[in-house]
């Protein structure tokens, strides 16, 4: 019997405590979500949610301190996960979409930190590059593109009044918080009370990994191992992923392109080429001046 199954500590949190914490956090979240309530409600809601999170953290820490000695690894784990969850709350509660997107970047960084703790360095780098670098930039571009100035009566509108109504008022916060925190309570109950504790040490490495990782040739590092695994076991999936990305790119271009309408007068006019003695100053073809019309489809290079 391994030592960590023999302890008498019991579950991390009793079920009734999980239910109570979820109820309090749900009330706090309802008050935190954008609504017409007085701004002080949001402060109270934020305090409630933060207090719930601290109690939860304290319970987990107390449970852990009773059984293991804390090392630097778990300190980093608590820092990253608390940071990521606080930023996730800010993502869904902030009124301005730009700030939501920026808080999501912080959540991605926290997740990347957790991935590093889980010995998945390549995935951490890929997450930062793809999510924080590519997807979020697209989001911010679309937010800038699709935001509209709202005209507000009054000389000095508050920042909240300048926001559009659909950012200021959330839809059915009570029902959503009930469903979400009920799901969270059930999941936490199953995770903490019904699952037996699994650590890396508790799993027999030779038993569980007999197929996959050990057949690969011995290479150094997580990135190399992952590459060997992908190209030896997941070739078809990899090709399909590339195909899917290509299809998605074509689809996105087709969806979002805007048909440029050329005015009648320009479209009907014959192609007009201004012939001018153009002498390139060097061999660079781009140094040839281009004469054309206002109609971009009639642009032509002068014939020399």
């Amino acid at each position: 019997m391994p030592f960590f199954l023999a302890q008498a500590g019991g579950p991390v949190l009793p079920a009734i405590a999980i239910v109570a914490l979820c109820v309090i956090a749900g009330i706090g979240t309802i008050m935190l979500l954008p609504s017409h309530f007085h701004p002080s409600w949001r402060k109270v809601g934020g305090a409630l949610t933060a207090a719930t999170g601290l109690i939860f953290l304290a319970a987990v820490l107390r449970h852990e301190a009773a059984e293991h000695q804390t090392d630097i690894h778990s300190v980093y784990f608590y820092i990253f996960s608390a940071f990521g969850l606080v930023c996730a709350m800010r993502v869904i509660t902030h009124r301005q979409p730009v700030y939501s997107a920026l808080y999501f970047v912080l959540t991605v960084f926290a997740s990347a930190g957790l991935f590093v703790l889980l010995m998945a360095e390549f995935m951490a780098a890929a997450l930062v590059i793809i999510y924080a670098g590519a997807i979020l930039i697209t989001y911010v571009f679309v937010i800038m593109l699709a935001s509209q100035p709202t005209s507000v009566d009054g000389a000095h509108p508050t920042p909240a009044q300048q926001m559009a109504d659909y950012d200021n008022v959330s839809r059915d916060p009570f029902i959503a918080a009930t469903i979400g925190f009920a799901l969270m309570g059930i999941l936490l109950f199953v995770i903490f009370d019904r699952a037996e504790e699994i650590t890396v040490a508790s799993l027999n490495p030779t038993a569980l990994s007999e197929g996959i990782a050990r057949q690969a040739p011995a290479v150094e590092g997580n990135t190399q191992e992952l590459g060997v695994y992908l190209f030896s076991h997941q070739q078809v999936s990899l090709e399909l992923a590339g195909l899917l990305l290509t299809i998605a790119m074509v689809g996105a271009i087709v969806i979002a392109r805007r048909r440029v309408t050329i005015p009648e007068s320009l479209a009907a006019a014959p192609a007009e080429v201004v012939v001018f003695p153009a002498t390139p100053v060097d061999d660079n073809p781009h140094s040839i001046p281009v004469y054309g019309t206002d109609n971009p489809s009639q642009k032509a290079y002068p014939e020399t």
Partner: protein
Amino acid sequence: MNPLALQHYLAVGAIMFCIGLIGFMTRRNLIVMFLCTELMFQGVAINLIAFGRFHDNLAGQAFVIFVLVIAAAEASLALGLVVLLFRQRNTLDADAWRDMKG
């Protein structure tokens, strides 16, 4: 050895998923709704990588790569659709499309 159990990571993933779910249901801005689905993807990715680490194989990480691929494809298509919808109604409110029932 690592004293953290699998449960710690699963709990973080579960909480992040539920936060994203609440955000998806409450927010009315189309862009923020898609941002919340990305938050749910994050929770799932943490779960998958934690399982892969504690079972000592690479299937979890490979799975997360494909989740990233799907997320990128979904983001590009969804944002294209959002731009299209914004041009039609000149608003990002999801309730503007309330009559679209099917």
